[in-house]
Protein backbone atom coordinates (compact mmCIF):
# COMPACT_ATOMS: atom_id res chain seq x y z
CA UNK A 1 0.00 0.00 0.00
CA UNK A 2 1.01 3.52 -0.61
CA UNK A 3 2.09 5.49 2.42
CA UNK A 4 -0.40 8.18 1.48
CA UNK A 5 -3.23 5.90 2.49
CA UNK A 6 -2.11 5.93 6.08
CA UNK A 7 -1.40 9.63 6.28
CA UNK A 8 -3.57 11.25 3.67
CA UNK A 9 -2.27 14.50 2.35
CA UNK A 10 -4.09 17.18 4.29
CA UNK A 11 -6.11 19.16 1.85
CA UNK A 12 -5.88 22.88 2.32
CA UNK A 13 -9.38 24.22 2.89
CA UNK A 14 -10.77 27.68 3.32
CA UNK A 15 -12.37 28.35 6.70
CA UNK A 16 -16.09 27.64 6.56
CA UNK A 17 -18.38 30.64 6.59
CA UNK A 18 -20.47 31.03 9.74
CA UNK A 19 -23.60 31.39 7.64
CA UNK A 20 -22.93 28.10 5.89
CA UNK A 21 -22.40 26.35 9.24
CA UNK A 22 -25.65 27.76 10.57
CA UNK A 23 -27.47 26.74 7.39
CA UNK A 24 -26.23 23.14 7.56
CA UNK A 25 -27.23 22.87 11.23
CA UNK A 26 -30.68 24.21 10.33
CA UNK A 27 -31.03 21.68 7.52
CA UNK A 28 -29.92 18.91 9.91
CA UNK A 29 -32.55 20.00 12.43
CA UNK A 30 -35.27 20.08 9.77
CA UNK A 31 -34.33 16.61 8.51
CA UNK A 32 -34.64 15.34 12.08
CA UNK A 33 -38.05 16.99 12.42
CA UNK A 34 -39.52 15.26 9.35
CA UNK A 35 -42.44 13.04 10.34
CA UNK A 36 -40.46 9.80 10.76
CA UNK A 37 -42.19 6.82 12.27
CA UNK A 38 -41.92 3.06 12.65
CA UNK A 39 -38.92 1.32 11.09
CA UNK A 40 -37.85 4.49 9.29
CA UNK A 41 -37.56 6.16 12.67
CA UNK A 42 -35.23 3.46 13.98
CA UNK A 43 -33.08 3.59 10.84
CA UNK A 44 -33.06 7.36 10.61
CA UNK A 45 -29.58 8.74 11.05
CA UNK A 46 -29.43 11.62 13.50
CA UNK A 47 -28.72 14.29 10.86
CA UNK A 48 -28.31 17.05 13.40
CA UNK A 49 -25.84 15.03 15.47
CA UNK A 50 -23.57 14.17 12.55
CA UNK A 51 -23.61 17.79 11.35
CA UNK A 52 -22.65 18.94 14.85
CA UNK A 53 -19.88 16.33 14.97
CA UNK A 54 -18.65 17.36 11.52
CA UNK A 55 -18.27 20.99 12.50
CA UNK A 56 -16.67 20.15 15.85
CA UNK A 57 -14.01 18.20 13.97
CA UNK A 58 -13.52 20.68 11.13
CA UNK A 59 -13.99 23.98 12.98
CA UNK A 60 -13.28 23.13 16.64
CA UNK A 61 -12.69 26.75 17.58
CA UNK A 62 -16.02 27.91 16.25
CA UNK A 63 -18.26 24.96 17.12
CA UNK A 64 -19.05 24.99 20.81
CA UNK A 65 -20.66 22.60 23.23
CA UNK A 66 -23.20 25.34 23.94
CA UNK A 67 -24.53 25.21 20.38
CA UNK A 68 -24.93 21.43 20.63
CA UNK A 69 -26.67 21.81 23.97
CA UNK A 70 -29.17 24.35 22.62
CA UNK A 71 -29.92 22.22 19.56
CA UNK A 72 -30.45 19.25 21.89
CA UNK A 73 -32.98 21.25 23.91
CA UNK A 74 -34.91 21.98 20.72
CA UNK A 75 -34.99 18.28 19.86
CA UNK A 76 -36.16 17.54 23.42
CA UNK A 77 -39.13 19.84 23.02
CA UNK A 78 -39.96 18.69 19.49
CA UNK A 79 -39.85 15.02 20.48
CA UNK A 80 -41.60 15.62 23.79
CA UNK A 81 -39.02 13.74 25.82
CA UNK A 82 -37.44 14.43 29.21
CA UNK A 83 -36.14 18.00 29.09
CA UNK A 84 -32.33 17.98 28.77
CA UNK A 85 -31.71 14.40 27.68
CA UNK A 86 -30.78 15.12 24.08
CA UNK A 87 -29.04 18.30 25.22
CA UNK A 88 -26.75 16.21 27.41
CA UNK A 89 -26.21 13.52 24.76
CA UNK A 90 -25.34 16.08 22.05
CA UNK A 91 -22.96 17.94 24.38
CA UNK A 92 -21.22 14.65 25.18
CA UNK A 93 -20.76 13.74 21.50
CA UNK A 94 -19.46 17.20 20.60
CA UNK A 95 -17.16 17.17 23.62
CA UNK A 96 -15.56 13.88 22.57
CA UNK A 97 -15.33 15.14 18.99
CA UNK A 98 -13.54 18.30 20.17
CA UNK A 99 -11.09 16.20 22.20
CA UNK A 100 -10.32 13.87 19.29
CA UNK A 101 -10.58 16.24 16.33
CA UNK A 102 -6.83 16.31 15.56
CA UNK A 103 -6.61 12.53 15.59
CA UNK A 104 -9.74 12.02 13.51
CA UNK A 105 -8.52 14.47 10.84
CA UNK A 106 -5.48 12.25 10.25
CA UNK A 107 -7.68 9.64 8.58
CA UNK A 108 -9.50 9.47 5.27
CA UNK A 109 -13.27 10.05 5.38
CA UNK A 110 -13.89 6.30 5.17
CA UNK A 111 -11.59 5.63 8.11
CA UNK A 112 -13.17 8.50 10.02
CA UNK A 113 -16.46 6.64 9.73
CA UNK A 114 -15.28 4.31 12.48
CA UNK A 115 -14.67 7.18 14.89
CA UNK A 116 -18.00 8.73 13.97
CA UNK A 117 -19.70 5.41 14.69
CA UNK A 118 -18.14 5.40 18.16
CA UNK A 119 -19.26 8.99 18.77
CA UNK A 120 -22.82 8.24 17.65
CA UNK A 121 -22.89 5.09 19.78
CA UNK A 122 -21.75 7.14 22.78
CA UNK A 123 -24.52 9.63 22.06
CA UNK A 124 -27.18 6.92 21.81
CA UNK A 125 -25.85 5.07 24.85
CA UNK A 126 -26.14 8.29 26.85
CA UNK A 127 -29.77 8.74 25.76
CA UNK A 128 -30.48 5.08 26.45
CA UNK A 129 -29.00 5.34 29.95
CA UNK A 130 -31.22 8.32 30.74
CA UNK A 131 -34.28 6.58 29.30
CA UNK A 132 -33.67 3.37 31.23
CA UNK A 133 -33.23 5.33 34.45
CA UNK A 134 -36.74 6.76 33.96
CA UNK A 135 -38.10 3.22 33.87
CA UNK A 136 -38.81 2.29 30.25
CA UNK A 137 -37.99 -1.06 28.64
CA UNK A 138 -35.04 -1.45 26.29
CA UNK A 139 -36.40 -1.80 22.77
CA UNK A 140 -33.69 -4.15 21.51
CA UNK A 141 -30.41 -3.71 19.66
CA UNK A 142 -32.30 -2.24 16.68
CA UNK A 143 -32.13 0.98 18.66
CA UNK A 144 -28.49 1.38 17.67
CA UNK A 145 -29.24 1.03 13.93
CA UNK A 146 -29.41 4.83 13.75
CA UNK A 147 -25.72 5.04 14.74
CA UNK A 148 -24.69 2.70 11.93
CA UNK A 149 -26.75 4.55 9.31
CA UNK A 150 -25.42 7.86 10.61
CA UNK A 151 -21.82 6.67 10.36
CA UNK A 152 -22.41 5.35 6.83
CA UNK A 153 -23.64 8.78 5.85
CA UNK A 154 -20.38 10.37 6.99
CA UNK A 155 -18.33 10.19 3.73
CA UNK A 156 -21.20 11.73 1.79
CA UNK A 157 -21.65 14.41 4.43
CA UNK A 158 -17.92 15.21 4.32
CA UNK A 159 -18.08 15.55 0.54
CA UNK A 160 -21.12 17.84 0.63
CA UNK A 161 -20.13 20.06 3.55
CA UNK A 162 -16.59 20.57 2.22
CA UNK A 163 -17.63 21.72 -1.24
CA UNK A 164 -17.82 25.44 -0.39
CA UNK A 165 -14.44 25.32 1.37
CA UNK A 166 -12.50 23.86 -1.57
CA UNK A 167 -9.69 26.07 -2.84
CA UNK A 168 -9.24 26.29 -6.60
CA UNK A 169 -5.81 24.80 -7.35
CA UNK A 170 -3.55 27.53 -8.68
CA UNK A 171 -1.27 26.47 -11.47
CA UNK A 172 1.83 28.57 -11.55
Amino acid sequence: MHANNHHPRQELLKPASGQFMALTLFVGLMLNLLPWSGAALLLRPDFLAITLIFWSIREPLRMGIGVAWLMGLMIDVADGVLFGQNALAYSLAVFIALLLHRRILMFTPWQQTFYVLLLLLALQAMTLLIRLSTGVDFIGMGYFAASVSGALLWPLLTLLLQLPQKVEPKRD
Binding site: S37, L41, L42, I65, M74, G80, G84, F95
Partner: protein, 308 residues
Amino acid sequence: MDQSPPFFKRGPSPLARFVFFASLSAVLMVADAYQNYLGLLRQTVAVVVTPLQRLANSPSELGDRISEFFISQAFLQKENRRLQQQELEHSAQLQGFQAMQAENAYLRKLLGARKQSDQTLVMTEILYAGRDPFAHKIIVDKGTTHGVSAGQPVVDDVGVIGQVTRAYPFSSEVTLLTDKDQAIPIEIVRNGMRAIAFGQGQDSTLGLAFMPMNADVQPGDTIVTSGIDGVYPPGLPVAVVSKIERNAAVAFARIVCMPSAGVGLHKQVLIVTSDRRKEYESQAAPLLATPTQAEVKGKGKRRGEGAR
Protein backbone atom coordinates in the same frame (compact mmCIF):
# COMPACT_ATOMS: atom_id res chain seq x y z
CA MET B 1 -0.96 41.21 31.01
CA ASP B 2 -3.47 40.52 28.33
CA GLN B 3 -1.12 40.68 25.42
CA SER B 4 -1.74 37.30 23.81
CA PRO B 5 -3.08 37.69 20.27
CA PRO B 6 -6.74 36.73 19.81
CA PHE B 7 -5.48 33.77 17.80
CA PHE B 8 -4.64 31.88 20.99
CA LYS B 9 -7.67 32.85 23.04
CA ARG B 10 -9.86 29.82 23.43
CA GLY B 11 -11.92 30.55 26.51
CA PRO B 12 -12.69 27.80 28.99
CA SER B 13 -11.45 24.33 28.11
CA PRO B 14 -13.83 21.88 26.40
CA LEU B 15 -13.88 19.82 29.59
CA ALA B 16 -14.97 22.81 31.67
CA ARG B 17 -17.66 23.65 29.15
CA PHE B 18 -18.85 20.07 28.98
CA VAL B 19 -19.06 19.79 32.76
CA PHE B 20 -21.02 23.04 32.84
CA PHE B 21 -23.54 22.01 30.22
CA ALA B 22 -23.79 18.44 31.51
CA SER B 23 -24.69 19.65 34.99
CA LEU B 24 -27.15 22.13 33.49
CA SER B 25 -28.84 19.25 31.63
CA ALA B 26 -28.84 17.13 34.77
CA VAL B 27 -30.59 19.92 36.69
CA LEU B 28 -33.15 20.28 33.89
CA MET B 29 -33.79 16.54 33.74
CA VAL B 30 -34.29 16.19 37.49
CA ALA B 31 -36.53 19.26 37.58
CA ASP B 32 -38.54 17.90 34.64
CA ALA B 33 -38.84 14.37 35.99
CA TYR B 34 -39.79 15.13 39.58
CA GLN B 35 -41.40 18.55 39.46
CA ASN B 36 -43.28 20.42 36.84
CA TYR B 37 -41.19 23.55 37.18
CA LEU B 38 -40.23 23.66 33.56
CA GLY B 39 -43.58 24.27 31.91
CA LEU B 40 -42.73 27.84 31.01
CA LEU B 41 -39.23 27.01 29.73
CA ARG B 42 -40.64 24.21 27.59
CA GLN B 43 -43.32 26.54 26.23
CA THR B 44 -40.66 29.11 25.36
CA VAL B 45 -38.58 26.63 23.39
CA ALA B 46 -41.79 25.32 21.81
CA VAL B 47 -42.51 28.79 20.42
CA VAL B 48 -39.34 28.42 18.32
CA VAL B 49 -39.66 24.72 17.54
CA THR B 50 -43.36 24.47 16.62
CA PRO B 51 -43.13 26.60 13.43
CA LEU B 52 -40.06 24.61 12.35
CA GLN B 53 -41.97 21.41 13.01
CA ARG B 54 -44.88 22.64 10.88
CA LEU B 55 -42.42 23.52 8.13
CA ALA B 56 -40.88 20.04 8.30
CA ASN B 57 -44.32 18.46 8.07
CA SER B 58 -45.39 20.53 5.08
CA PRO B 59 -43.79 18.33 2.34
CA SER B 60 -45.66 15.23 3.50
CA GLU B 61 -48.86 17.25 3.91
CA LEU B 62 -48.42 18.55 0.37
CA GLY B 63 -47.98 14.96 -0.78
CA ASP B 64 -51.23 14.02 0.96
CA ARG B 65 -53.04 16.90 -0.70
CA ILE B 66 -51.77 15.90 -4.13
CA SER B 67 -52.74 12.26 -3.68
CA GLU B 68 -56.16 13.42 -2.42
CA PHE B 69 -56.55 15.46 -5.58
CA PHE B 70 -55.99 12.43 -7.77
CA ILE B 71 -58.41 10.24 -5.86
CA SER B 72 -60.73 8.27 -8.14
CA GLN B 73 -64.39 9.04 -8.51
CA ALA B 74 -65.36 5.40 -8.01
CA PHE B 75 -63.65 5.46 -4.63
CA LEU B 76 -65.44 8.64 -3.65
CA GLN B 77 -68.79 7.25 -4.70
CA LYS B 78 -68.20 4.07 -2.75
CA GLU B 79 -67.16 6.03 0.31
CA ASN B 80 -70.13 8.34 -0.04
CA ARG B 81 -72.52 5.40 -0.16
CA ARG B 82 -70.87 3.79 2.85
CA LEU B 83 -71.04 7.02 4.85
CA GLN B 84 -74.70 7.57 3.96
CA GLN B 85 -75.55 4.10 5.13
CA GLN B 86 -73.55 4.63 8.29
CA GLU B 87 -75.33 7.92 8.91
CA LEU B 88 -78.71 6.21 8.61
CA GLU B 89 -77.68 3.60 11.12
CA HIS B 90 -76.33 6.24 13.45
CA SER B 91 -79.41 8.41 13.25
CA ALA B 92 -81.55 5.40 14.16
CA GLN B 93 -79.28 4.76 17.12
CA LEU B 94 -79.32 8.44 17.99
CA GLN B 95 -83.11 8.48 18.24
CA GLY B 96 -82.93 5.70 20.77
CA PHE B 97 -80.15 7.57 22.51
CA GLN B 98 -82.20 10.75 22.76
CA ALA B 99 -85.10 8.88 24.30
CA MET B 100 -82.70 7.26 26.73
CA GLN B 101 -81.09 10.59 27.55
CA ALA B 102 -84.50 12.09 28.36
CA GLU B 103 -85.33 9.10 30.51
CA ASN B 104 -81.96 9.32 32.20
CA ALA B 105 -82.42 13.03 32.93
CA TYR B 106 -85.84 12.30 34.42
CA LEU B 107 -84.50 9.49 36.61
CA ARG B 108 -81.62 11.68 37.73
CA LYS B 109 -84.07 14.39 38.70
CA LEU B 110 -86.02 11.85 40.69
CA LEU B 111 -82.86 10.82 42.48
CA GLY B 112 -81.90 14.45 43.10
CA ALA B 113 -78.57 13.95 41.41
CA ARG B 114 -76.98 16.73 39.47
CA LYS B 115 -77.20 16.80 35.73
CA GLN B 116 -74.11 15.55 34.00
CA SER B 117 -72.79 18.28 31.79
CA ASP B 118 -72.59 17.63 28.09
CA GLN B 119 -69.29 16.58 26.68
CA THR B 120 -67.47 19.18 24.72
CA LEU B 121 -65.24 17.75 22.06
CA VAL B 122 -62.42 19.35 20.15
CA MET B 123 -61.64 17.86 16.77
CA THR B 124 -57.91 17.68 16.14
CA GLU B 125 -55.68 16.39 13.44
CA ILE B 126 -52.69 14.19 14.16
CA LEU B 127 -49.60 16.13 13.12
CA TYR B 128 -47.08 13.33 13.50
CA ALA B 129 -46.25 10.30 15.60
CA GLY B 130 -43.83 10.97 18.44
CA ARG B 131 -40.22 10.39 17.41
CA ASP B 132 -39.18 8.84 20.69
CA PRO B 133 -38.87 5.09 20.01
CA PHE B 134 -39.33 4.37 23.72
CA ALA B 135 -42.71 6.04 24.05
CA HIS B 136 -46.10 5.80 22.39
CA LYS B 137 -47.09 9.36 21.74
CA ILE B 138 -48.68 11.44 19.03
CA ILE B 139 -48.70 15.18 18.50
CA VAL B 140 -51.99 16.83 17.54
CA ASP B 141 -52.67 20.29 16.14
CA LYS B 142 -54.80 21.84 18.89
CA GLY B 143 -53.42 23.35 22.07
CA THR B 144 -54.16 25.51 25.07
CA THR B 145 -55.61 28.25 22.85
CA HIS B 146 -58.36 25.80 21.87
CA GLY B 147 -59.16 24.83 25.45
CA VAL B 148 -56.97 21.74 25.53
CA SER B 149 -55.10 21.05 28.74
CA ALA B 150 -53.01 18.23 30.15
CA GLY B 151 -55.02 15.32 31.52
CA GLN B 152 -57.90 15.42 29.05
CA PRO B 153 -58.92 12.12 27.44
CA VAL B 154 -58.54 11.60 23.70
CA VAL B 155 -60.92 9.37 21.73
CA ASP B 156 -61.55 8.37 18.14
CA ASP B 157 -64.69 6.93 16.58
CA VAL B 158 -64.05 3.49 18.09
CA GLY B 159 -62.90 4.24 21.60
CA VAL B 160 -60.27 5.75 23.88
CA ILE B 161 -56.82 6.21 22.44
CA GLY B 162 -55.09 8.05 25.27
CA GLN B 163 -54.68 11.20 27.26
CA VAL B 164 -53.20 14.66 26.67
CA THR B 165 -49.97 14.81 28.64
CA ARG B 166 -48.58 18.16 27.55
CA ALA B 167 -50.38 21.10 26.05
CA TYR B 168 -48.58 23.80 24.13
CA PRO B 169 -50.29 26.91 22.73
CA PHE B 170 -50.89 25.45 19.26
CA SER B 171 -50.24 21.74 19.62
CA SER B 172 -50.40 19.10 22.29
CA GLU B 173 -48.87 15.78 23.04
CA VAL B 174 -51.08 12.74 23.52
CA THR B 175 -49.77 9.69 25.36
CA LEU B 176 -51.39 6.55 23.98
CA LEU B 177 -52.88 3.87 26.23
CA THR B 178 -50.19 1.48 25.03
CA ASP B 179 -47.39 3.64 26.45
CA LYS B 180 -45.63 1.86 29.28
CA ASP B 181 -47.43 2.36 32.62
CA GLN B 182 -50.12 4.61 31.16
CA ALA B 183 -53.09 3.62 33.32
CA ILE B 184 -56.82 3.71 32.66
CA PRO B 185 -59.59 2.54 35.02
CA ILE B 186 -61.80 0.06 33.23
CA GLU B 187 -64.82 -2.14 33.66
CA ILE B 188 -65.62 -5.45 32.02
CA VAL B 189 -68.93 -5.09 30.19
CA ARG B 190 -70.04 -8.69 30.73
CA ASN B 191 -69.96 -8.65 34.55
CA GLY B 192 -69.22 -5.07 35.59
CA MET B 193 -65.94 -6.03 37.24
CA ARG B 194 -63.59 -3.08 37.67
CA ALA B 195 -59.87 -3.06 37.18
CA ILE B 196 -57.05 -0.87 35.96
CA ALA B 197 -55.45 -1.43 32.58
CA PHE B 198 -51.81 -0.51 32.08
CA GLY B 199 -49.95 0.04 28.83
CA GLN B 200 -47.33 -2.62 28.19
CA GLY B 201 -44.87 -0.48 26.26
CA GLN B 202 -43.35 -2.33 23.37
CA ASP B 203 -45.94 -4.73 22.03
CA SER B 204 -48.87 -2.26 21.76
CA THR B 205 -51.12 -4.17 24.15
CA LEU B 206 -52.73 -3.40 27.48
CA GLY B 207 -52.54 -5.53 30.59
CA LEU B 208 -54.97 -5.75 33.50
CA ALA B 209 -53.00 -5.34 36.69
CA PHE B 210 -53.39 -7.24 39.96
CA MET B 211 -56.18 -9.56 38.85
CA PRO B 212 -56.55 -12.66 41.04
CA MET B 213 -56.16 -16.11 39.49
CA ASN B 214 -59.85 -16.85 39.69
CA ALA B 215 -60.99 -13.51 38.27
CA ASP B 216 -63.96 -13.91 35.95
CA VAL B 217 -62.32 -12.76 32.73
CA GLN B 218 -62.64 -14.54 29.41
CA PRO B 219 -60.93 -14.00 26.09
CA GLY B 220 -63.18 -11.82 23.94
CA ASP B 221 -64.51 -9.76 26.86
CA THR B 222 -65.00 -6.13 25.96
CA ILE B 223 -63.61 -3.63 28.42
CA VAL B 224 -64.82 -0.05 28.67
CA THR B 225 -63.88 2.94 30.82
CA SER B 226 -65.45 2.78 34.27
CA GLY B 227 -65.48 6.53 34.78
CA ILE B 228 -64.75 6.31 38.50
CA ASP B 229 -61.48 8.20 38.04
CA GLY B 230 -63.29 11.35 36.95
CA VAL B 231 -60.98 11.77 33.97
CA TYR B 232 -62.38 9.44 31.34
CA PRO B 233 -66.11 9.52 30.61
CA PRO B 234 -67.69 6.15 31.52
CA GLY B 235 -68.60 3.53 28.94
CA LEU B 236 -66.08 4.25 26.20
CA PRO B 237 -64.64 1.11 24.58
CA VAL B 238 -61.01 0.57 25.56
CA ALA B 239 -59.92 -2.90 24.51
CA VAL B 240 -60.82 -6.54 24.03
CA VAL B 241 -59.30 -9.28 26.18
CA SER B 242 -57.18 -11.45 23.90
CA LYS B 243 -55.16 -13.76 26.13
CA ILE B 244 -55.18 -14.89 29.75
CA GLU B 245 -52.24 -16.68 31.34
CA ARG B 246 -52.78 -18.28 34.71
CA ASN B 247 -49.38 -19.26 35.95
CA ALA B 248 -49.30 -20.76 39.44
CA ALA B 249 -45.82 -19.37 40.03
CA VAL B 250 -47.11 -15.78 39.90
CA ALA B 251 -49.61 -14.32 42.32
CA PHE B 252 -51.73 -12.65 39.64
CA ALA B 253 -53.21 -13.71 36.34
CA ARG B 254 -51.59 -12.16 33.28
CA ILE B 255 -54.35 -10.69 31.14
CA VAL B 256 -53.46 -9.24 27.75
CA CYS B 257 -55.89 -6.97 25.91
CA MET B 258 -55.82 -5.51 22.40
CA PRO B 259 -56.83 -1.84 22.26
CA SER B 260 -60.05 -1.20 20.30
CA ALA B 261 -59.16 2.19 18.87
CA GLY B 262 -56.35 2.44 16.40
CA VAL B 263 -54.26 5.53 15.88
CA GLY B 264 -52.87 4.34 12.59
CA LEU B 265 -56.31 4.35 11.01
CA HIS B 266 -57.35 7.97 11.04
CA LYS B 267 -55.88 11.39 10.85
CA GLN B 268 -58.47 12.96 13.14
CA VAL B 269 -59.04 12.37 16.84
CA LEU B 270 -61.30 14.05 19.41
CA ILE B 271 -60.21 15.58 22.70
CA VAL B 272 -62.84 15.63 25.46
CA THR B 273 -62.34 19.09 26.91
CA SER B 274 -65.12 19.25 29.49
CA ASP B 275 -63.47 19.08 32.87
CA ARG B 276 -65.10 16.08 34.46
CA ARG B 277 -62.66 16.05 37.32
CA LYS B 278 -63.76 19.44 38.64
CA GLU B 279 -67.40 18.51 38.22
CA TYR B 280 -66.78 15.19 39.93
CA GLU B 281 -65.05 16.80 42.88
CA SER B 282 -67.80 19.36 43.32
CA GLN B 283 -70.33 16.54 43.32
CA ALA B 284 -68.31 14.47 45.73
CA ALA B 285 -67.44 17.34 48.07
CA PRO B 286 -70.64 17.28 50.17
CA LEU B 287 -70.33 13.53 50.52
CA LEU B 288 -66.70 13.67 51.52
CA ALA B 289 -67.18 16.51 54.00
CA THR B 290 -69.48 14.70 56.45
CA PRO B 291 -69.41 10.96 55.87
CA THR B 292 -72.13 9.42 58.03
CA GLN B 293 -71.71 5.97 59.44
CA ALA B 294 -74.21 4.51 56.99
CA GLU B 295 -72.45 6.08 54.01
CA VAL B 296 -69.09 4.76 55.08
CA LYS B 297 -70.54 1.30 55.43
CA GLY B 298 -72.35 1.59 52.12
CA LYS B 299 -69.16 2.67 50.38
CA GLY B 300 -67.18 -0.17 51.86
CA LYS B 301 -69.78 -2.61 50.69
CA ARG B 302 -69.80 -1.20 47.21
CA ARG B 303 -66.04 -1.36 47.03
CA GLY B 304 -66.19 -4.95 48.18
CA GLU B 305 -68.57 -5.74 45.36
CA GLY B 306 -66.41 -3.98 42.85
CA ALA B 307 -63.35 -6.03 43.76
CA ARG B 308 -65.24 -9.27 43.56
